[in-house]
């Protein structure tokens, strides 16, 4: 982290519950790019992605009292808020869900290699590691994570039974954890 200021997750939560703007600024600096990346993967349009990102942060700010640390990590909560908001926006705008995963990812990577402050996240390092993830494992994560597919929709999309979706998702994430360690 390049910032002098660093909060533990517990500190961050307490400060945000008190509507501390400095903490919120820290939250934005550290997580906006990741959230924007998720939105961008789903909508593939920069302006729309940034509009949704603004809305997502406002929602995080306004609804922070709903965050319960006993139910999960803060960043995961933020990701889920952002993903649900993006799905709602796409639905309300009449977008049809499209499978973007098989498309050329270079266009995406070119974009964020150019604009990302990669020192902060070591994005390039992470993405190099993710190359090791098997395609059939990666696709199941991406469908859920970046396309907002339900397990039923994933089951239909890939043509595997619902029960298999759960176990394959588990093995995919186990693999991911192994790669990231």
């Amino acid at each position: 982290m390049q910032q002098n200021l660093k909060y533990s997750e517990e500190e961050l939560v307490v400060l945000l519950q008190r509507q501390d703007q400095t903490a919120f600024s820290y939250l934005y600096d550290n997580y906006s790019a990741a959230l924007n990346g998720i939105i961008y993967r789903m909508v593939e349009e920069h302006h729309l992605a940034e509009d949704i990102l603004q809305e997502a942060f406002l929602k995080i700010w306004n609804n922070f009292n709903q965050y319960d640390s006993s139910k999960g990590r803060l960043f995961t909560w933020m990701i889920n808020i952002t993903r649900n908001l993006t799905i709602d926006t796409l639905r309300s705008k009449g977008y049809k869900k499209q499978q973007k995963i098989s498309q050329d990812e270079n266009s995406v990577s070119n974009y964020h290699d150019k604009t990302l402050n990669s020192d902060r996240f070591d994005t390039i390092g992470l993405r190099k590691q993710l190359v090791n993830l098997k395609p059939d494992q990666k696709i199941i994560i991406d469908l859920a994570y970046f396309s907002g597919y339900t397990q039923e929709e994933i089951s239909k999309e890939i043509g595997i039974p619902l029960g298999t979706v759960k176990t394959r998702m588990r093995s995919a994430i186990m693999e991911l954890r192994k790669i990231l360690q």
Partner: protein, 266 residues
């Protein structure tokens, strides 16, 4: 469900990605409270997925942060926790604040100017008011004086009035007084204006001489305002042979005790 089965079910992964049903969600939340191992497992899954999200991060435009903060500040209630914070203000409010300060200054200047004008005009108004009051008082005084003169004249001019001149005696040879006796009614008036000034504590008293005896005719008073004597009504007599005025102690006496000043016969 045993801990091992929970961990291998895939539910924790689905929960992390928000894919569980409401029922599954509440089950997972109960397990992570109940079993520390499940909680640890969930945390690892979450961290893995967070790293995955970080790997695909796309830096948003530089202006987005300001846009978000301008929106949260509008709704932000004024609360201070410890350190002082700098809040940026919507430019519209800055203009509004500047405009209201200018209006305030303008209004203050006008206030000052108008207050000065008000003071000047109010002073002039009060002076006029006092002049009018003084004049009214003068008019009232003149009118009252005129009334008195009219009264005097009506007594003097009445066709029934019989004047009796009272002449000065040894005590004050120059003194004089006049009685006007109304033949029709028996009313008695006296004009004491040529009597010398009565000393302090003394008062002139009128006497009518009826059948050789002095009868009290009343005290001669000065006008309310000053020291002037004017024609005044005294006690009435059916008949009288003469009138006299003596100087008595204030309030008078039932029979004359003081020096006689003037006297006159009918």
């Amino acid at each position: 469900m045993e801990i091992k089965d929970i961990i291998s079910s895939g539910l924790l992964e689905a929960y992390t990605m928000g894919l569980t049903s409401p029922e599954e969600t509440s089950n997972v939340q109960a397990w992570i409270k109940q079993y520390p191992e499940v909680a640890t497992e969930l945390k690892s899954i979450e961290q893995a997925m967070e790293s995955y999200a970080m790997a695909y991060a796309v830096e948003p435009g530089k202006d987005i942060k300001d846009k978000i903060f301008s929106k949260i500040e509008i709704n932000h209630s004024v609360e201070n926790y410890g350190t002082a914070k700098v809040y940026s203000i919507n430019p519209l409010w800055k203009w509004a604040a500047a405009a209201s300060i200018i209006l305030l200054i303008g209004s203050s200047i006008l206030n000052y100017v108008y207050y000065n004008r008000y003071t000047t005009i109010n002073t002039a108004y009060l002076q006029n008011q006092k002049q009018i009051e003084d004049q009214n008082n003068q008019i009232a005084q003149m009118s009252s004086d005129l009334n008195a003169v009219n009264n005097d004249m009506s007594v003097v001019q009445s066709k029934y009035s019989e004047p009796v001149a009272l002449h000065g005696l040894d005590a004050a040879p120059d003194a004089a007084a006049k009685i006007f006796w109304m033949k029709n009614t028996g009313d008695v008036y006296i004009d004491p204006s040529n009597l010398p000034e009565a000393p302090a504590g003394k008062q002139y008293q009128l006497w009518a001489i009826v059948d050789g005896k002095p009868v009290d005719g009343g005290m001669i008073v000065k006008t309310k305002k000053g020291d002037k004597y004017q024609i005044q009504k005294m006690k009435s007599f059916g008949k009288a042979q003469a009138f006299a005025v003596t100087l008595e102690n204030e309030g008078g006496n039932p029979t004359p005790k003081g020096t006689m000043y003037v006297m006159g016969k009918m």
